[in-house]
């Protein structure tokens, strides 16, 4: 119990300090009065008694100090008094303080924004032991791609045989129409196996979750679990929701429960609002087909089992499956990743963390530049404070006292700056989430100031305190009262100090060079992407997606809905033509079946090859502006009963029938298993994916929506005028007029889809914006810093320059001498920056398109920019110096 008592006493001394001090004074006063009384009793006069007593007591203040020491609080008291002194000092120089605090805030802000975004992407799932969760993904030999899904029969085998896993669950994501209280929302739905929630170890917020006892694949009972956020947003978090009837894609379902708060599904960048049995959303044939990669897999690795062991076990099973099912599983392997590192999808397992680290480094560079700037301020002021420090030394302050004072001052600045920066950075992150509307992708980022971010900010705070406080502290500790107190230190600073200040400025410039080069490389990537001839006319096409299936349209009803819609839209003024497709170029959805020439074995992963499949209407090619090279497009005779036909791109034709004419030839696919597709037309290779730009063309074929059904389609409407955006209201109103309940979404131009979406150039453009903002920020800071150093140099060298001029140095030569100095700084900074940029470019290479990391144009532009601006910055102080009157400067003493 003794330590609690001690702790209480310490706390009392610390927080009731005034009271403790008063008591100490009273106690000593009592003693003094007692001594005086004794002397008076012994016969001394009151005055003599008092003097004698005081003599006996000795230095009372020193006694108090010793008592404080005994209480072990000297350091804390000293720091507190330093703190008070620093705050006073900083308030006395408001401009210096504001500049330093603002600079630190500008440096910390982007770090907080980036850390918030990154931590929201990498935050562990709100499940028990979330760090034991892993994801599985499929690879095929001879193909670099990683598939996010497994064949369900494969999953069953891995689940049964791979002992390092305690369980494995299947899930997939799809959009669905959810009708509650007569209102239909198009929401993200997760179709789950029965053990999905038990594998994650989640507990319901209300009712129950989908359970293994519902069935291995979630069962065939129409049950649904709502997300906590949908439940609170739309149903007022009412517990009576359990047992309620809702409609999903028009079909009746019963809500059995609500998922826990903060659980948004297992796809990081999207928020799932609905969980339903996977069995009801994927056909049994698809789920039992070993050749269809049908489900995403999340697994739980047993406690203490390393990932390598799980991987090895999966590898063993994969080899066995390869032997047992050679037609489907030859060359098929499974990758296992920790779930947190494989976000948003296993494909990104290597890229996302690398990208996160890269961006953290870039924002850290901004902070370093900001710190260098503040350090420059401190050092410049430190010269003026040399006398103050010397006086403190002379009055008995120890070296450690001076170091502590400097560090505390830096800490005050850093804390103020970091708090400001953190608030601004968090607001910026929220703003970013609001602005970063990605076409066709309801991006969800859960921004909360969590421990990860907070401790990162704390770490940055300590680093910046040390960066800006340590050097002035060390300098203060070297103060020598004798020389520093002597009057008028008038000589120019030694080479070392000048070098250090210039080095700081050069380092700042180097940092901004790196950021600007990275930004330039991204700009060039966007240019490279946009300069490619896509083979279609994006600016004049408006996209609008509809999903009549969300309110229960069957395929016949949907077909007639689309027929009347097509007629109605083509009747609109300004509409040249209208078509529909299931997938959009550069969109997130796709279908890639295996295909093989007629006469060869049925296509599978071993006997065929992958091709992009698109379902379109007859006007599709005319509408998006793609010319047919040969043959024809779909016509009214290509109906459901007629022979199935396809239009293929050159890449597919060349792959299936090299050197021959593809027209009239037939091929088979594994997604339309029973049908032979006859080629009726050939179109040029137009890129539909980002990877095709500058890479090999993907084999692609198009089939008619009249022959193959799809209930949700995206309308492509071609405008007669240059801007398709004007059609938005006409098209949405037309759809609403036909059936106001049919969800309409993602209405924007094809140009926006290509330029701004995640599947298009959106990510690269986002990188341009981020690095651009950071680059400009860094450049501004660096220029302010350089300007500060240069004008400080001029001020510190006033006397020297005056003497030189008195000895006949012309103003012109003074000007040139100082300008040359700023060029030296710039040159040095640019040289270091360029070599760092090339290193950063190497890391970046995988994120660049059509540009090499050492792109000469980018490097040259940055060099010109930096050179120009730093000359400008050097110009002013140099001119000021050259206009000085030598007599004035010397009289200054």
């Amino acid at each position: 119990m003794r330590w609690t008592r001690k702790l209480r006493l310490r706390f009392r001394s610390l927080f009731r300090g005034r009271r403790v001090e008063d008591e100490l004074a009273e106690e000593l006063q009592y003693h003094l009065d007692g001594l005086i009384a004794d002397h008076i009793v012994a016969g001394a006069s009151p005055g003599d008694a008092r003097r004698a007593a005081l003599r006996e007591m000795g230095a009372i203040e020193q006694r108090k100090e010793e008592c404080r020491d005994a209480r072990g609080l000297r350091l804390i008291h000293a720091v507190l008094s330093d703190l008070r002194y620093s705050v006073r000092q900083l308030r006395k120089y408001p401009i210096f303080t504001a500049a330093a605090v603002l600079t630190i805030a500008v440096g910390i802000g982007p770090n907080v924004t980036m850390a918030t975004i990154i931590s929201s992407v990498f935050r562990p799932l709100p499940a028990d032991d979330a760090d034991r969760l892993a994801v599985l993904a499929t690879t095929l030999s001879g193909n670099a791609r990683i598939w996010q899904r497994l064949a369900y029969p494969d999953l069953q085998d891995y689940r049964a045989a791979a002992t390092p896993f305690s369980d494995m669950a299947a899930w997939d994501l799809r959009a669905a129409g959810l009708t509650v209280n007569g209102r239909t929302d198009r929401v993200m739905a997760t179709a789950v196996s029965g053990n999905y929630f038990s594998t994650l170890r989640l507990e319901p917020a209300a009712g129950r979750l989908i359970l293994p006892s519902d069935g291995e694949l979630g069962g065939t009972q129409p049950i649904a679990v709502l997300s906590h956020s949908y439940w609170s947003r739309n149903l007022g978090a009412s517990p009576s929701v359990v047992g309620r009837e809702v409609r999903i894609d028009g079909r009746p379902f019963t809500v059995v429960g609500v998922a826990p708060e903060e659980f948004h599904g297992t796809f990081t960048l999207l928020s799932s609002d609905l969980y339903v049995p996977i069995e009801l959303f994927q056909s049994a044939a698809r789920l039992s087909n070993r050749d269809v990669l049908a489900v995403r897999v999340i697994a739980r690795v047993k406690p203490g089992v390393p990932l390598e062991q799980a991987r090895a076990s999966v590898e063993t099973v994969a080899k066995r499956l390869e032997a047992d099912h050679p037609t489907t599983n030859a060359g098929r392997r499974i990758r296992v990743y920790w779930e947190r590192l494989a976000r948003p999808e296993p494909q990104g397992a290597s890229q996302t963390p690398a990208l996160a680290a890269l961006f953290l480094m870039l924002v850290a560079a901004v902070l370093l530049i900001a710190c260098a700037n503040v350090l420059g301020l401190f050092l410049a002021r430190g010269l003026g404070r040399g006398r103050e420090m010397a006086i403190r030394r002379a009055l008995g302050a120890s070296r450690s006292d001076l170091v502590r004072l400097c560090v505390v001052e830096a800490l005050v600045i850093a804390v103020l700056g970091a708090s400001g920066g953190a608030v601004a950075g968090l607001a910026l992150a929220r703003g970013f989430a609001a602005v970063a509307a990605i076409p066709g992708f309801p991006l969800f980022l859960d921004f909360r100031l969590d421990w990860m971010t907070l401790s990162y900010v704390g770490f940055l705070l300590i680093i910046s305190t040390l960066l800006i406080g340590l050097l002035p502290a060390l300098r203060a500790s070297r103060v020598d009262p004798r020389s520093d107190l002597s009057e008028g230190r008038t000589s120019t600073d030694g080479r070392r100090r000048q070098l250090m200040r210039k080095g700081l400025a050069a380092a700042q410039l180097a940092g901004s060079v790196v950021l600007l080069v990275v930004c330039g490389l991204f700009i060039r990537s966007v240019q490279g992407l946009q300069s490619v001839d896509l083979g279609f006319d994006a600016s004049r096409v408006l996209l609008a997606s509809t999903d009549p299936g969300a309110i229960g349209y069957e395929s016949d009803r949907a077909r007639s809905f689309y027929e009347s819609l097509d007629t109605a839209i083509e009747a609109l003024p300004d509409v040249e033509s209208a078509a529909a497709s299931v997938f959009v170029p550069f969109g997130t959805g796709n279908s890639t079946p295996y295909i093989a020439v007629e006469g060869q074995p049925a296509p599978s992963s071993t006997s065929g090859f992958l091709a992009d499949k698109h379902l379109v209407t007859s006007d599709y090619f005319r509408t998006i502006g793609t010319q047919l090279l040969r043959g024809r497009t779909f016509s009214t005779t290509d109906t459901n009963g007629a022979p199935k036909v396809a239009v293929v791109n050159e890449a597919l034709a060349a792959r299936l029938w090299p050197g021959e004419d593809a027209l009239g030839r037939r091929f088979r696919t594994n997604s339309e298993a029973d049908a032979l597709l006859e080629v009726i037309g050939v179109v040029p290779n137009a890129p539909y994916r980002r990877g095709e730009i500058g890479g090999p063309a993907v084999p692609r074929y198009f089939v008619s929506l009249d022959q193959f059904d799809a209930v949700n389609r995206t309308l492509h409407v071609r405008s007669r005028t240059a801007a398709a955006g004007t059609l938005i209201s006409g098209v949405t109103e037309t759809i609403r007029r036909l059936d106001s309940a049919v969800p309409v979404y993602d209405v924007y131009t094809l140009e926006r889809q290509i330029n701004d979406s995640g599947g298009g150039f959106g990510a690269v453009k986002g990188a341009v914006v981020i690095t651009g903002v950071l680059g400009l920020l860094a450049l501004t800071l660096a220029l302010v810093g350089t300007y500060g150093v240069l004008s400080f140099t001029v001020r510190a060298r006033t006397r020297e320059i005056g003497i030189r001029m008195a000895f006949g140095l012309t103003p012109g030569r003074v000007f040139r001498m100082l300008l040359r100095e700023s060029w030296n700084i710039a040159l040095f900074g640019i040289a270091i920056g360029l070599s760092l940029s090339v290193a950063a470019g190497k890391v970046l290479e995988q994120f660049l398109f059509g540009v090499v990391p050492y792109d000469p144009l980018t490097l040259l532009s940055v060099v010109m920019l930096m050179g120009g601006i730093s000359s400008l910055v050097g110009f002013l102080p140099a001119r000021r110096a050259s206009r000085m009157n030598p007599i004035e400067t010397l009289r200054y003493e």
Partner: protein, 109 residues
């Protein structure tokens, strides 16, 4: 035992504990009592007394309480805690061991 002051300080703690084991008293009374008990041989300077008292308090061996004194003023009375009582026993034993050891050396045989 590197510096003589260590010995003095350690001893002062023991003296204070011993005096306070008689009854709670304030600083001035402690100084006077030590002087009386040592037949005017030992005079504890105020410079050492209060830091030592505060240190003992911080160690949890004594505790302090404000109470009216004999001249009707408020004074800070120090009292031994159970931990202090134990410490006194240990320190006394230690002192006896030490002083007899020193006597063995210092006294002529």
């Amino acid at each position: 035992m590197s510096k003589p002051t260590d010995l003095v300080q350690g001893t002062l703690g023991l003296l204070l504990l011993r005096v306070l084991s008689l009854e709670p008293m304030h600083g001035l009374a402690i100084a006077q009592r030590i002087r009386q008990m040592s037949n005017e041989q030992l005079r504890v300077g105020q410079s050492a007394l209060y830091p030592a008292l505060h240190k003992l308090e911080q160690q949890g061996w004594i505790e302090a309480e404000w109470a009216p004194s004999e001249n009707n003023r408020r004074a800070k009375y120090y009292r031994l805690t159970p931990a202090g009582r134990k410490a006194l026993k240990a320190e006394t034993a230690e002192w006896e061991r030490l002083s007899s050891a020193i006597s063995l050396i210092v006294k002529p045989a």
